[in-house]
């Protein structure tokens, strides 16, 4: 679904949320450049340059978290630290919020150059979000920073300063996650409320660590001077290392399940690409129905492995299409598959989804299957009957058949959502 953007100018494929945040970032950059020009350069150039270098290094070591979320904790911590800076050693610093924006933008630009040099195109929306967050902190905190110094003391009132810092970074964090949610809701077509909760869940811990480090850097630089900068990025380095490994393992796990779900194809049990198509269709339908990210991951796993039970059959059922098998046979395959998945000991919820995928939506003797099972049932039936054919009439006919069956077999809401997903797809091709 990415290919459709190839033949259009890049900006036309951006959603409005992305455009808004990029526009804001451009305005920030222009304003800060104008301010620097009017001011005739940087206030206190040395700390500005050193913080800029830290931000650049952070950009260099940015990483991707699960859900393809780009983060650069060290860069963000550096930018927050510079925005919250009260002094360098004994000397008080009074740089303007726009100077913070200029230093952050400069550092980010320098840090992305190596990425561009090796052919990785920068994720502009993620970078713009980082710039906006740092600018918000600077605009909220810097005007107040002068008031934090009691009249007769050189030392700031630290507890007051810390409270203000914490409040400001929290506000910036909320704004950042809101922007992220708007962008995500548009790109993956999820609802905003659900996307927001997903963003908060995915990002709050890393944001907390980043914010704490930003505050720590600000405090330490005021106490010990610029030498502290190097020492005090050590905690966030540890955090970054830990999260990078976490993201890598999550990725490998997903790849393993995606790859091994193909054993049924290689074994000739199902048509080539069936598991992948069913999982893509299921996830899109689940999102349409407002499922959260965690549930979508389980849905994806279950959809990928929904036919794994066929491995226990001696011979493939004809054509591999479970929808054409007898209900008893379908149930048996689902049971066998769930049994296999249960053996992992870690995917119990996925096993439950797979077990009930063959159950009819309305049945007097038992409760309705979970939503994920209903989605897989419909997506599987659709793919069994349409396959990789791109014939629109056939697709429409199959969808009509599912609609007719939705009195008892399929959940009408799921079939409608599936229909909307397929409509969009047809329009896009």
């Amino acid at each position: 679904m990415v290919s459709h953007s190839r033949d259009r100018p890049a900006w036309q494929s951006l959603d409005s949320g992305q455009l808004a945040v990029l526009g804001t970032a451009v305005v920030i950059v222009l304003c800060s450049a104008a301010e620097l020009a009017a001011h005739g350069g940087l206030d206190a150039a040395r700390p500005a340059v050193i913080f800029g270098v830290l931000i650049a290094l952070g950009e260099l070591f940015k990483m991707n978290m699960p859900g393809n979320r780009e983060v650069a904790p060290i860069s963000t911590a550096g930018a927050l630290g510079y925005a919250l800076l009260l002094g360098v050693g004994p000397a008080q610093v009074v740089h303007s919020p726009l100077q913070v924006a200029a230093v952050t933008a400069g550092g980010m630009f320098a840090g992305s150059l190596p990425h561009v040099a090796v052919g990785r195109s920068p994720r502009l929306d993620a970078m713009a979000r980082r710039l906006v967050a740092a600018t918000i902190v600077a605009f909220l905190f810097r005007p107040l920073s002068g008031h934090l110094f009691p009249a007769d003391l050189r030392e700031p009132d630290w507890y007051g300063a810390l409270a203000l810092m914490a409040a400001v970074v929290m506000v910036a964090g909320c704004v950042d996650m809101t922007i992220a949610a708007v962008i995500r809701a548009e790109t993956v077509r999820a609802r905003f409320g659900i996307a927001f909760v997903d963003e908060v869940k995915a990002g709050y811990l890393l944001w907390a660590a980043t914010a704490a480090t930003g505050m720590l850097i600000a405090v330490a630089t005021s106490v010990m001077g610029l030498a502290a900068l190097l020492l005090f990025t050590a905690p966030i380095l540890t955090t970054q290392f830990a999260f990078r490994r976490y993201a890598a393992v999550r990725m490998t796990y997903l790849q393993t399940v995606r790859a091994l779900s193909r054993v049924t194809e290689v074994g000739g049990y199902v048509e080539t690409g069936h598991s992948h198509r069913v999982s893509r269709l299921s996830v899109a339908t689940g999102r349409e129905l407002g499922m959260a990210e965690e549930e979508l991951l389980e849905l994806e796993y279950a959809a990928l492995m929904h036919d794994i039970g066929q491995l226990s059959l001696g011979d493939p059922i004809p054509g591999g299409a479970t929808v054409l098998a007898s209900p008893a046979e379908q149930r048996r395959i689902a049971e066998l598959g769930a049994g296999v998945i249960e053996q992992t000991g870690v995917l119990d919820r996925v096993a439950r989804i797979v077990r009930r995928q063959s159950h009819p939506y309305r049945c007097e003797s038992e409760t309705a299957p979970p939503l994920a099972s209903r989605i897989i049932k419909a997506a599987n039936a659709y793919d069994d009957l349409v396959g990789d054919s791109t014939d629109r009439d056939r697709a429409a006919a199959v969808l009509e058949r599912l609609r007719l069956d939705s009195v008892s077999e399929y959940d009408p809401a799921v079939v409608e959502a599936l229909g909307r997903v397929l409509d969009r797809r047809t329009l896009r091709f």
């Binding site: 030392e155 480090t213 720590l216 106490v223 020492l231 976490y246 790859a259 226990s312 296999v340 992992t344």
Partner: protein, 441 residues
Amino acid sequence: MRGLPLAAWAYVGGVVALAATLLSISSYDQVDWQILVVLAALFLICDSAPALLSIERARVSMAFSASLASVVLLGPAGAALVGACALGTWQLVPPVKRLYNGAQFVLCGWVAGTIFAVLTPDQVPVEEQIAPFAFALVAYVVTNLLLVTGILLLSRQATVRELLGEMQQLAPGLLGYGSFGLLIAGTWQAVGPVAPVLVLLPLFIARWAFAQTAAQQRAHEATLATLCQAVETKDYYTRGHSERVSRGSVMIATEIGMRPDRIEAIRFAGMLHDVGKLGVPTKVLQKEGTLSEEEFAAIQLHPMRGLEIIREIGFLDEALAGIMHHHEKLNGRGYPMGLAGEEIPEFARVISVADAFDAMTSTRSYRPAGTRAEGIAELRRCSGTDFDPAVVAAFLRALQTQGWEPPRAVVLPEGEPVETTRQDHDDPSRPLKVAGENSAW
């Protein structure tokens, strides 16, 4: 701890007595009690939380950071007192161990504190504390490691060689988390008890991520193993084969001294080596008697089918090569490519030995399981022609030290038609019979 040797008891007694003496003769005039209470609480909280890095006998926790902060902020006497808090840890440990740990943290704190106090006699700015702190930190870690080594050696829980290996793993962690103590101490004068919160929050979050990583890794392995088993369920006799080949490959890899990340990769490669067998029609696998050339071609292609499936996993390329070539023979008469000698990737040479040994020592429908001795004899016989002699030798050495758990006897369910293989492509002692071939494959 019961049955501790006499020497170990004496050692524990000595350390505890020394710590108690130090605590009783120290002067606490200069200790700031407010800081002490906060750091002691911090020490206990960190020590009772799950460890950041833990190996069988030792753990690194953020209590180290608290302890080293007390070295700077409180001096020798205070640092010793903070160390004594280990007595009150919430972890479940036997009383002797609790007492010993407390005593050794007292000694570590006191030694490091003394060194730091001697090197910085007056109040100096934080930048000038870095070098003295580094000395104190090293002294702390060395004292700690020495004391732990002493008790482990005397109680005969570990050998010197094992301990050296573990120390190499532990020392960087200890030094790293210890050095955060300076960060806490450095910002303490400005923000007081908020300093440890700011320093340790990112670390606590990192620990959460480490724990998640470990959980995901376990889940990944369990899922992989289960899916491999699912592939094997077709055949009663090959159940558990992947698991055992994986274990055997790891034994060999460890024996020939592969790097840990490569060992990890070969573990997965061993597990997945036969996934492509699913692409071989059941009737070919179950055929008795001579295989036609097409049928044999289907078998020969199974490593490629396996590769097709797992290529998408972000593996080391080496693991892929290992799976693709695990049926190559040293003399160039294997499949699918007919590579010979050094052309065969190392992973493939390792996996093929484990694979063949397991096939020979497992029951097959056409013969009972071979004994371990028979398997070894067969490996020796084919060493140099089929298998890399160095790999075979490493496997035999590993067999002697670690042993081998052969598959349990196969009990076929009665009354149902059962699917079993009639010929095993992995079994070098009984080559596949192929029409038009009179040489053994």
